[in-house]
Amino acid sequence: MGASTDGGHGHGGHGDAEPGDAAAGPTVISVSKVSPRVRTIAVVRPTEHDVTYLEATRKGLGVTLRHFMKNFFGRRRPAEALARGEVVTAKSFIPWNEIETIQYPEERTHYPERFRGLHRLMQRDDGTVRCVACMCCPTVCPANCITIIPAEIDEHGVEKAPALFEIDELRCVVCGLCVEACPCDAIRMDSGMHAKPVEERGHAIMTREMLLGVSGEAGKDPKSTATQGGEGPAWRE
C-alpha cells in the first residue's frame, strides 16, 4: 500500500457519503519516519447535504413534480403521432404533455411494411390450398412447430396437398423462415395480425382451415399472383 498522492485532492471535494472510497485512496497528510506504514490521512467527512439528503430530495422532487404537472395538466399528444414516434410541432393552447403510452387495442404503433404477423395459407383460384406439402417449411422451421401430413391429389397438375397442416403459434419464434422456404408462395406472414390470446395451450395450434381463414380476417387477398403447376393433368402424357 504505497502512499498515493494522485487522486487524493479531487476526492475531498466529491463529498461522497462513503469515507472509505477504496479506489481513489486517502489523501496522505504525513507519513511516520519510524514506520512508514503509519500515516496521517485526511478523513473525508460527508457534507451536510449528503447527510440530510435535503439537496438530493429537493432536486428529485423538482424533477418528478415537473413531470407530474406537465402530464397532469397537459394535453395528450395525438395517438397517431405517438404511434409513428413523431415529434408534435403543432401549436396547442394547452401544452402537450410527455406521456408515451399508446393504449394498445384501440391505438397501435405503426407497423413496418415487412412486419411478420400471424401466418396465413394462400389459396388457389378455386379456393383450395396452394400448399403442395413439399415439407420445406417444417424442415427449415427452427422451432419445429409446423406439422404436415401430406395427401395425394391429382388436380391442376399438382400431386400433393396437406391433409393436415398445423402451426403451433406458441412455439413459433416468428422467424419467417417458413415463408422464405416455400417454393410456391403458399404460406405468408403478411397478415399484420398478432397470434390470438388463448386460454389453453391447445387452442394456440392453428389448423389448416384456420390458417386459410386468416386472409379474410386480415382483409388481404387470399390469392397469389404467382403461377403454379402445369397446364393440367395432361402435361404428363
Binding site: V51, T64, H67, F68, F72, T101
Partner: protein, 407 residues
C-alpha cells in the same frame, strides 16, 4: 330535536362518519391515485380502464380499479401456511389496521356546528360572551374525542400498530418474515422518538397537545387563527420537515420501506394472502391519510379556511379577549351564513388532507429506498438531535415572546 343532536354529537356517530365518509374512501381511492400519480410522474398513463362488464363505457379514468382490487382480494384464496401461530397470524393484520382507525378519534375534521344558528350567521362575539345562549344550546363538535393529551394519545396508539408488523413476522414461521418484522420494529422505534420530539416545539408554542385547540388557537394570539400566517408551518418550519420525514418513515413506505422491501428483501407479510394481506395494504394507506390529517391539523390550520372566521371572510381584523376567549373581530367582513362556513371548513380540511397525501405520494415515487444504516443514521444521528435542538430553540423563542409580549 334534542335527542337528534345528542345522537349526532355522540362520539360513535362521529367516528363512523369520519371513518366511513372520509378515511375509507380516501384510503381506497389512494390505491388508485398512487398508481395514476406515479404513472404521470413517469410519463405513463397508469390504470385507466377498469369498468363493470355490463357498462364498459363507465371507465371514470380508472377510479373503479379500487373496486376491482377489493373484489380480487376478497375472492382470492386465503392461504395459511402450516406451522404458523394461528392466533397471532390472524391478529396481526387487525393490529395493523385497528390502532390507526382508533387514532382518528383525536383529529378535528370540522368546526363546532351550532344547529340552532344554522339558518343565519354565527356571531362569535355573542358566542364567547354567552356560551349558553339559545342559539348555542346544542352543538356538534366535529371531533370524536378532545383529550388534553391529544397527540400523546396518537403516539401511544400508533405504537400498538407496530406490533402488527412485528407479530406478523413472528407468527409467520418464516425467517425472512421474522427479519422483516424486526426491521419494522427497529425502524418504528427509531423514528417514533424523533417524531414525538419534533412536535414538541409546536406544543410549547401553542401551549396545548389537543389538536382541536391547536387549530382554533394558532401560534399567535395577535392574529386570527384563520390567517395562514398564524398556522404553525411558518412558525415551526423545521418541525414540519422533521415531522414529515419521521412520519413518512412511520408509514413504512419508500424511501423508508425496508421493513417490506418487496422486490429484494422480503417483508413481514410475505406469508399473507387474500384479504389478510389486503388489510396490511389498506392499513398502509390509512396511515398515509392519518399522517396527512395530523400534518394538516398541526401545521396547516386543520379545518381553517384562509381568512374565514365564524361569521365570514374577514380582512384586517384584530383579536379581542372576551370572557376569557380570544375572538377575531373588526375589519372588513364579508358575511357568510353559518351553514356555508361549516361546509367550507369541512371541505377545506378534506382538501388539505388530499394535498398532503398527494405530497406523500410524490415523495414516495421520487426517492429510492434508504439502506438500513442510512436509515438508522438519519433517525438517530440527524432527526433526533435536530428535533431536540429545535425544541430548545422553540422554548427560548417562547420565553422571549412571553417576556416581550410578541405573541
Amino acid at each position: 330535536m334534542k335527542t337528534l343532536y345528542t345522537v349526532l354529537d355522540h362520539p360513535a356517530t362521529k367516528w363512523v362518519f369520519i371513518v366511513f365518509a372520509l378515511v375509507m374512501p380516501l384510503a381506497s381511492l389512494l390505491t388508485w391515485a398512487e398508481r395514476r400519480q406515479s404513472a404521470m410522474m413517469q410519463d405513463r398513463l397508469g390504470p385507466n380502464r377498469a369498468a363493470p362488464t355490463f357498462a364498459p363505457w363507465l371507465k371514470l379514468k380508472g377510479i373503479l380499479h379500487f373496486v376491482a382490487d377489493a373484489i380480487k382480494m376478497i375472492s382470492k384464496e386465503d392461504f395459511i401456511p402450516g406451522n404458523v401461530h394461528r392466533g397471532l397470524f390472524t391478529l396481526a393484520p387487525l393490529l395493523a389496521i385497528g390502532p390507526v382507525l382508533v387514532a382518528f378519534a383525536i383529529i378535528p375534521f370540522g368546526p363546532t356546528i351550532y344547529p340552532h344558528a344554522l339558518d343565519g350567521t354565527l356571531d362569535p362575539l355573542a358566542l364567547a360572551q354567552d356560551p349558553g345562549g339559545k342559539d348555542f344550546l346544542d352543538s356538534i363538535r366535529m371531533q370524536v374525542a378532545s383529550f388534553d393529551y391529544g397527540l400523546i394519545f396518537y403516539f401511544a396508539v400508533l405504537t400498538l400498530a407496530n406490533y402488527g408488523g412485528t407479530l406478523a413476522g413472528w407468527a409467520s414461521y418464516n425467517k425472512w418474515a421474522l427479519l422483516g418484522g424486526l426491521r419494522s420494529s427497529s425502524q418504528m422505534m427509531s423514528y417514533e422518538v424523533a417524531m414525538g420530539l419534533s412536535l414538541m416545539g409546536c406544543f410549547l408554542l401553542v401551549g396545548s397537545l389537543e389538536p382541536g385547540y391547536i387549530v382554533t388557537a394558532g401560534a399567535s394570539s395577535k392574529l386570527s387563527p384563520s390567517n395562514p400566517l398564524n398556522w404553525l408551518w411558518l412558525w415551526q418550519f423545521p418541525a414540519l420537515i422533521l415531522f414529515t420525514t419521521a412520519s413518512i418513515a412511520e408509514t413504512k413506505r419508500a424511501p423508508f420501506d425496508i421493513p417490506e422491501g418487496e422486490p429484494e428483501i422480503i417483508g413481514y407479510f410475505v406469508e399473507y394472502s387474500g384479504l389478510r394481506w389486503g388489510l396490511f395494504f389498506l392499513a398502509e394507506f390509512i396511515e398515509i391519510v392519518f399522517v396527512a390529517a395530523v400534518i394538516t391539523t398541526v401545521f396547516f390550520g386543520g379545518w381553517q379556511v384562509p381568512f374565514l372566521d365564524g361569521d365570514g371572510f374577514r380582512f384586517g381584523g384584530y383579536m379581542v379577549e372576551t370572557n376569557g376567549q380570544l375572538v377575531s373581530t373588526g375589519g372588513f367582513v364579508l358575511k357568510v351564513p353559518h351553514a356555508l362556513v361549516s361546509a367550507l371548513q369541512v371541505g377545506a380540511f378534506g382538501l388539505k388532507v388530499i394535498l398532503v397525501c398527494w405530497f406523500q405520494l410524490l415523495v414516495r415515487w421520487t426517492l429510492p429506498r434508504f439502506r438500513a444504516d442510512q436509515l438508522m443514521n438519519l433517525g438517530w444521528k440527524l432527526l433526533l438531535p435536530l428535533a431536540l435542538a429545535w425544541t430548545m430553540v422553540s422554548a427560548l423563542f417562547k420565553l422571549a415572546a412571553m417576556y416581550f409580549g410578541w405573541v
